[in-house]
Amino acid sequence: MSYEVGDFGGTAKAPSLDGGNVVHVFWLSGMSCDGCSVAMLGAIAPRLEELTLGLIPRVPRVVMHHSMLDEDAGADFMAPFQAAADGSLGEPYVVVVEGSIPDDQSLSGPGHYAAMGTGSDWPSSKGGARHGDQPVKATDWMWALAPGAQACIAIGTCATWGGIPAAAGNITGSMGLTDYLGSSYRSARGIPVVNVPGCAPVGDNFMETLKELLLHFEGHVDLPEFDDIGRPAWMFGETVHRHCMKAGYYEEGVFAHEPGDNECLVEIGCWGPVVQCNITERGAINHLGGCMISGGACIGCTMPGFPDKYSPFYKAPPGSAISGTTSRITGGAIRRLRRISLANGNREPMWENAGEVPSAWGRANPVVPHPAHKINTFFYKKLQYAGTVNHAKRNKKQPLPLSRDILRQKGVDLEASVPVLQEHLVSREEL
């Protein structure tokens, strides 16, 4: 099939939704902390206002029903929820759930752990007013709205896997949305619960997922790929360690001893090598921050096992005893060899020809390498240029530039009069 400019490369074009360019988003909060909403507000790809103003080509305009954002309050705010549950909304909708889902459907008497709206807001089609003017349980809205939704997205680790409110010691019987709706759940388009975990999630992870789904609803792209527990596969397919900028320290067996140290954080309690998350690749916002990048150990906050399988926090994961020791031995040896190559690479060929480093900063560095380094370099070069030409060898025949060391040639000598700022000279021992 042919593509036009503006297509997104989808191969199968599903039929467009009736009504086309508007999709409602019903944001339900269970036992939340608002952190996921706050993360969503900070997203930049796309931004909230770009979706709600309909500024992105081919992406339907989003009508956001969110208690943190809505102009209306009370019954006016709840009316569209009621219409959606009744089937009278007339336009497609998506349900987003933030926060853990309490087990309050099982309370024998009245009471709730998370609620929104009062009894009069509850749609007649769902069994009449409940408990008179009592608060309507958030869990009621969830079971009533989920089946009719184009998709149901659980945002954050509470809504996906239960999170902290479902941790040991909880008295609310909390669970994730997948647990609550069960394995038979499919949205009106046949999509199981979509899970965008993280405590709080990277805002862009959620907005990108929502935008991809909206494009799919409009028939512009295939349904994106998800892993076996409903995570967007392209975001959560790698461990957070693989893209961690401190992973290189791990490889060389160099570890932080206490918080604030620059090296790999595994031994102060970082679980990154066994956690699926993309924050080190994407940053927390706009490619800035991202836990370990700023020095924060990973506590597994995107994972179904969070928090209990990763605590006590600030204690080295047991697995790191084996992997850490291994990397100390092998990585330690490799790091020492790399130091030699690094020292070699830190010298211009001309410096070697001239037998001196002209920088007043670098006078501490010997230009004539240690004999052991020389031997190492000899074999290294043999391997480096095996089967090809040693182009670099021609450097040795290159004459020294005549105007090299021009100040001395002109008789200007600053050596005696201007001291070198030795206190600003740093040599990184760990290199």
Partner: protein, 564 residues
């Protein structure tokens, strides 16, 4: 169990009484349902109840965990001010261990706290409160005010760039208004600065007992500084917008000064620790903060001593979904005095869900009081505390005048200037918002000063540049408390440890005061009382209750901090 219901709408002779049911109140943080009865003939509000409708059980989950889990678990009680809860929890654990963070660790925390305020305050002013003053809402609820706004020049036009008051209102419009979108843009920039040190926002990943684990280098100072300097002009504009809006409403109808009126009772734990005073943090907590702790009753400073403030706090549960704890442990303060039985340090969390009944139990929040007084918390309380209890700042950009706060905003694209907030003669919804705008400027300056201070410490080197103090959780039983100022104000964490395990953990958030239900003596919470004291000034033909909503939102409540 019998099903109790809220009273049906009252029908008076004229049929003028109508229940205002805001379930939920939108544009507040967390789940808040607010029921009030309005008499539209008398233009008054009768009874009002604030209901926190969510409970999660953080305190129950924290009990029995390793003490090292406290920071990361308790901070997740709130997704807006996770930094404040993290720092507060770390302070409690540090007090239990008898250590303090080193100077650079304190500077990093100060910076994180300031950026959190720089995210919260504009978010409140333009995303949560702002739409109440936007063109669509003003046109709908008071066409005559809109007409007046169209013909009223904005006195601060040279600063914010909007010629008419109506133009400000148009730009406050949700999603499409320039001021709304600018707030999103600027708070995203503040988030960027925040995560460079905090790792992520919300829920920072680098705050630990003993300091922070951030790896801050010269690039980080540069990246944060280059963002924060953009906030000088923005602060000027935010203050100018809210000054103009407030004065416009006062001039339109003097009774707007009664909307959301309440007593000048404020509680604040202080914020921004002086890193050069680390030695005194344990012996005299709060004393070396640049914004001082304060308990203010009827506009008069009662005490600035954090221990006295702490000892005066009590939590009541007659109208909350909890069983009484009674007979719990007895915790003593640092001087060996027994803390009151209803002090959070002695409290236990015994949830008991049930039906909502305004005469009985109706909220998941406890009713926190100070020496029996309902107290307001938040940015506005911090500004009052700074004015009355005193302020310090290393470069003197923020100073207390005793009856106000004077701030020197450095130049941006606009020239440097002085702005001054003065303690107002009346206290109401408009003054809360105006104070928050000035508090935003204060947070911006504190952020800037801490970056400059951090650079100075880094250049001087030595032990001051350390960001972490090693700690050992004591094996013996110990009780400790941490206090800190969140973007919304007073936060305290109370921990009892035994054998390095958390025996009891209690959290008090700002809205446990501001958004509280009635206490055992029947005194309404500050937000409830303010609503009950509100005249319905706006014509509001549709009876939307806009004056009530403006009142509720002026508190910048966070119901997740109120009930955890």
């Amino acid at each position: 169990m019998s099903i109790q219901t809220l009273p049906a709408p009252q029908q008076t002779m004229g049929g003028a009484a109508r229940n205002l049911r805001f379930d939920p109140v939108t544009r507040v943080s967390g789940d808040l349902a607010f029921h009030a009865s309005a008499d539209w003939s008398a233009r008054t509000v009768g009874n009002a109840v604030a209901m926190a409708t969510t409970f999660r059980g953080y305190e129950n989950i924290l009990a029995g965990r390793d003490a090292r889990d406290a920071v990361f678990v308790s901070s997740r009680a709130c997704g807006v001010c996770g930094t404040a809860h993290s720092i507060c929890s770390a302070l409690a654990i540090e007090a239990a261990c008898g250590i303090t963070a080193p100077p650079m660790g304190i500077v990093a925390r100060n910076f994180l706290a300031a950026t959190e305020c720089m995210i919260d305050h504009p978010s409140h002013l333009f995303l949560r409160a702002g739409p109440d003053y936007s063109e669509p809402v003003v046109r709908r609820t008071s066409p005559e005010l809109w007409a007046r706004a169209e013909s009223t020049a904005a006195p601060n036009a040279a600063v914010h760039g909007f010629a008419q008051i109506s133009q400000i209102m148009a730009e406050l419009t949700r999603y499409s208004g320039w001021l709304y979108r600018e707030a999103l843009h600027m708070t995203r920039m503040a988030r960027e600065a925040n995560v460079i040190v905090g790792g992520k926002y919300p829920h920072p990943q680098t705050i630990t007992p003993g300091g922070v684990s951030s790896t801050v280098d010269a690039t980080d100072f540069n990246l944060t500084l280059m963002r924060v300097v953009k906030f000088f002009d923005y602060s000027r504009r935010v203050v100018a917008v809210w000054d103009d809006l407030t004065n416009f409403f006062y001039n339109a109808d003097a009774r707007f000064a009664d909307v959301g009126q309440g007593p000048m009772n404020f509680l604040d734990a202080g914020l921004w620790e002086d890193p050069h005073a680390v030695d005194s943090i344990l012996s005299s907590p709060g004393e070396s903060r640049w914004s001082k702790p304060a308990a203010i009753v009827d506009g008069v400073l009662q005490t600035s001593d954090l221990r006295e403030i702490d000892a005066g706090v009590e939590e009541f549960i007659r109208h909350s979904f909890y069983d009484d704890w009674g007979g719990g442990s007895q915790v003593y303060d640092a001087s060996g005095n027994a803390l009151p039985p209803r002090n959070p340090a002695n409290k236990q969390t015994l949830p008991q869900p049930g039906s909502a009944d305004p005469d009985g139990r109706y909220s998941w929040s406890t009713a926190a009081r100070w020496r029996g007084h309902p107290m307001e918390t938040g940015a506005q309380a911090r500004l009052w505390a700074t004015a009355l209890a005193g302020a310090g700042s290393p470069a003197g950009l923020v100073e207390s005048t005793g009856r106000g706060v004077r701030m020197s905003l450095p130049s941006g694209q606009m020239p440097a200037n002085l702005i001054e907030w003065q303690v107002p003669g009346r206290w109401n919804a408009f003054e809360r918002n105006r104070a928050r705008a000035y508090a935003f400027a204060q947070a911006t300056l504190m952020c800037y000063e801490n970056i400059v201070l951090g650079l100075d410490l880094a250049r001087r080197g030595g032990t001051d540049v350390r960001i972490f103090t090693p700690y050992k959780i004591p094996k013996d039983g110990v009780a400790a408390t941490g206090h800190w100022g969140g973007a919304r104000g007073y936060v305290s964490h109370h921990v009892q440890l035994d054998n390095r395990v958390i025996e009891n953990y209690q959290i008090v958030g700002p809205s446990t005061f501001s958004g509280s239900p009635r206490d055992d003596a029947g005194r309404p919470g500050p937000c409830e009382a303010a609503v009950m004291a509100t005249p319905l000034v706006t014509s509001d033909a549709g009876q939307s209750g806009i004056d009530v909503l403006r009142t509720i939102r002026s508190f910048d409540l966070c119901m997740y901090c109120a009930s955890h």
